[in-house]
């Protein structure tokens, strides 16, 4: 046992001596090639510029695309708003009547028909209103008749019945205050509102 320990210590000492080396290291100074360095720097610069250019172009392209998308969305929104406004245009009625009048009101209905035809997912609500002169209770019935008149006109021209809901407010929600013919004429009306499918609307051709 004692012999084994002695041999192990001796071998360890030899290993340590070999690892620490024997004398001083030799110092070598390499020759400097400045041209190569400049070329290297130039290449790096060129690569950097090329990279930045590509980033810039990519960003410009991205901006252009974004602007185009925004412009398209703006045009779409404008078109939707325009179509919505056209759809929301009220029609008016003669006193105690529910027939759609020729001229301006019929033109308005034609535009609504075209919009509904061009936007198959669109559903609307028509609410009939009256002026204050008739009986309060009869005006509820008259308002419904006015809403029904507009719906029937559209259904007769191919719009599905289930795309249109009709309601009446009678004389309960006047558009204009006052007891004169101007106010009464404004209050005898059908109002049209979108109930579904109105987020993106297509403007019918020719409008």
């Amino acid at each position: 046992m004692k012999v084994k320990v002695t041999v192990f210590v001796g071998m360890a000492a030899m290993i340590v001596a070999a690892a620490c080396g024997g004398g001083q290291p030799e110092v070598v100074t390499p020759a400097i090639d400045s041209t190569a360095i400049r070329d290297s720097i130039a290449r790096e610069e060129a690569r950097r510029r090329a990279y930045e250019d590509s980033v810039r172009r990519a960003r410009e392209e991205e901006d252009r695309l974004r602007r185009e998308r925004e412009e398209a969305a703006r045009r779409e929104a404008a078109m939707t708003a325009e179509v919505r406004n056209m759809l929301a245009t009220a029609i008016n009625f003669d006193f105690d009547r529910s027939a759609i009048r020729d001229g301006r009101d019929m033109d308005v209905m034609q535009s609504k028909l075209a919009i509904l035809q061009a936007n198959g997912g669109l559903s609307i609500e028509i609410v009939g209103h009256c002026d204050e002169r008739g009986s309060d209770e009869y005006n509820m019935a008259l308002g419904m008749r006015r809403a029904n008149a507009a719906k029937q006109w559209l259904v007769d021209r191919g719009i599905a019945e289930n795309r249109i809901v009709v309601k009446s407010m009678g004389e309960e929600q006047p558009a204009a205050m006052g007891a004169n013919e101007d106010a009464w004429a404004q209050n005898r009306r059908d109002e049209f509102t979108i109930t579904a499918g109105g987020d993106q609307l297509v403007k019918p051709a020719g409008m």
Partner: protein, 453 residues
């Protein structure tokens, strides 16, 4: 004892123990007149006597005086303020405040000289919170009836109603026909439903402040208001219990536009209008059994609305546009036998709307356009003769008082739309409401139920 407790024990219109006086005067029955005979157009004088200056009694005197005046069956004689024309009592009890139990001395000759045919005294009794109201026949020099009112607060709903009931009973004793003071009128103002006593006092909101109510009516007891709640372009009919303030929607009216509700005289059936894509038609629903919706009219190209039951519940008058304009038609309560009711000249007579059958069934009131303005008309059911009652301003939506002699209606005669009352016999009118833009009045029958706590 609180007022409320006292009111729960209220026994209204109960004749007191001075039966000896009444024994000499048999109960007045309809068609039998004892003492002064009431004749329409010749109004007997009535005087509400002064008495103990107790606040509650002053309130009762004021309410009674108004009720007698508004009945249009008496010439109510007013005395100067601070008058000393009061009841006397016999010498034995002449000290202190005279009470109903005292031996009363009425100076009949003095009251007769002042033009009174009847005198009414308001006196305390020995019971706390109790007031006696005594009616004297001045010409007959006899006491005609006594009533007891329990309560202490003149602004209290229950006390006011009990005073109105006493007034109505005294009108019956004096004229043979009861008054209409113990009734109420519903009306809509700026979308909210209100009720007001027949004398114009006690205006109280019925529907929620934000609700939009329409075409109200009453059930026959005066316990429930039935009206349309407008929402999102539709209208549901709700039954609103005035006493408990609970309400429920009539099931088949929870969708679509339902309005112009009418309740049958027995309270079991609801008739109403419904506007749909198929037009406006009248439906009937069994409220008592909560079932059985029936369509009574099939308009298609015409509107049918505003049903009103006859007092026997067997017929419905209603508005139809089947002949072009709006006119009054009638049918059996099951929808059969539809025919023109109020005659009109085609192309000449103006539109007619808002019919209401009178409580005695003899007349139907409605409004009809005359030169562009609606005016109140009544039609005699038997002869079908139509009579115009108003001519100044716009006058519309008539509704009968329980006495069948007065109508409430909407008029703009003072520029703002308000509810007015007209006595169809004398033509006398008075303003009932003073709120903004009052419309769609509905007059109850005599209130038969306890009032709310």
């Amino acid at each position: 004892m609180t007022v409320r407790t006292a009111l729960t024990a209220l026994f209204l219109c109960l004749p007191l123990h001075h039966l000896a006086a009444q024994d000499t005067v048999p109960p007045v029955e309809q068609g039998v007149r004892i003492g002064i005979t009431y004749t329409p157009g010749l109004r007997p004088g009535l005087m509400v006597l002064g008495g103990p200056r107790i606040e509650i009694m002053d309130s009762i005197r004021a309410i009674l005086s108004r009720d007698f005046d508004f009945s249009d069956r008496f010439e109510v004689i007013s005395l100067p303020t601070g008058d000393s024309l009061v009841l006397g009592v016999s010498s034995a009890e002449s000290q202190g405040v005279p009470r109903a139990e005292d031996q009363l001395f009425v100076n009949y000759s003095l009251h007769a000289a002042l033009g009174a045919d009847y005198a009414v005294a308001v006196l305390p009794t020995v019971e706390p919170f109790s007031t006696a109201v005594v009616l004297f026949d001045v010409r007959g020099e006899t006491e005609r009836g006594r009533f007891e009112i329990i309560g202490t607060d003149g602004s209290d709903d229950a006390l006011r109603l009990s005073v109105h009931r006493v007034a109505d009973e005294m009108v019956r004793l004096a004229s043979g026909e009861p008054g209409y003071a113990a009734s109420r009128v519903l009306f809509v103002s700026n979308g909210r439903l209100y009720r007001v006593d027949a004398d114009g006092a006690q205006r109280t909101g019925v529907s929620d402040a934000g609700a939009r109510t329409f075409s109200p009516t009453w059930d026959p007891t005066g316990a429930r208001a039935i009206y349309t709640e407008l929402y999102d372009g539709w209208g549901r009919i709700v039954v609103h219990d005035i006493v408990s303030d609970q309400k429920r929607t009539v099931p088949p009216t929870s969708e679509l536009l339902n309005y112009t509700a009418a309740i049958s005289p027995d309270g079991t059936l609801l008739a109403f209008s419904r506007s749909t894509e198929d037009g406006t038609d009248i439906y009937r629903y069994n409220l008592a059994q909560d079932c059985c919706l029936e369509r009574l009219t099939v308009g298609r190209f015409s509107d049918n609305l505003s049903p009103t039951f006859s007092p026997d519940g067997r017929q419905l008058a209603f508005i139809s546009t089947r002949a072009g304009g709006q006119q009054v038609y009638v049918m059996s309560a099951d929808g059969t036998g539809q025919e023109l009711f109020a005659p009109f000249d085609y192309g000449v007579t103006g539109n007619s709307n808002a019919p209401e059958w009178s409580p005695d069934g003899t007349q139907v009131a409605f409004h009809r356009d005359v030169m562009g303005s609606p005016q109140i008309f009544v039609m005699d059911v038997r002869s079908r003769v139509v009579r115009q009652l108003t001519s100044f301003g716009r006058n519309e939506d008539p509704t009968w008082a329980p006495d069948g002699r007065h109508l409430a209606f909407v008029s703009n005669r003072t520029r703002r739309r308000q509810v007015w009352v007209i006595d169809i016999e004398s033509g006398r009118v008075r303003q009932l409401t003073t709120v903004g833009d009052a419309r769609l009045p509905a007059w109850s029958r005599r209130i038969q139920v306890p009032v709310q706590p």
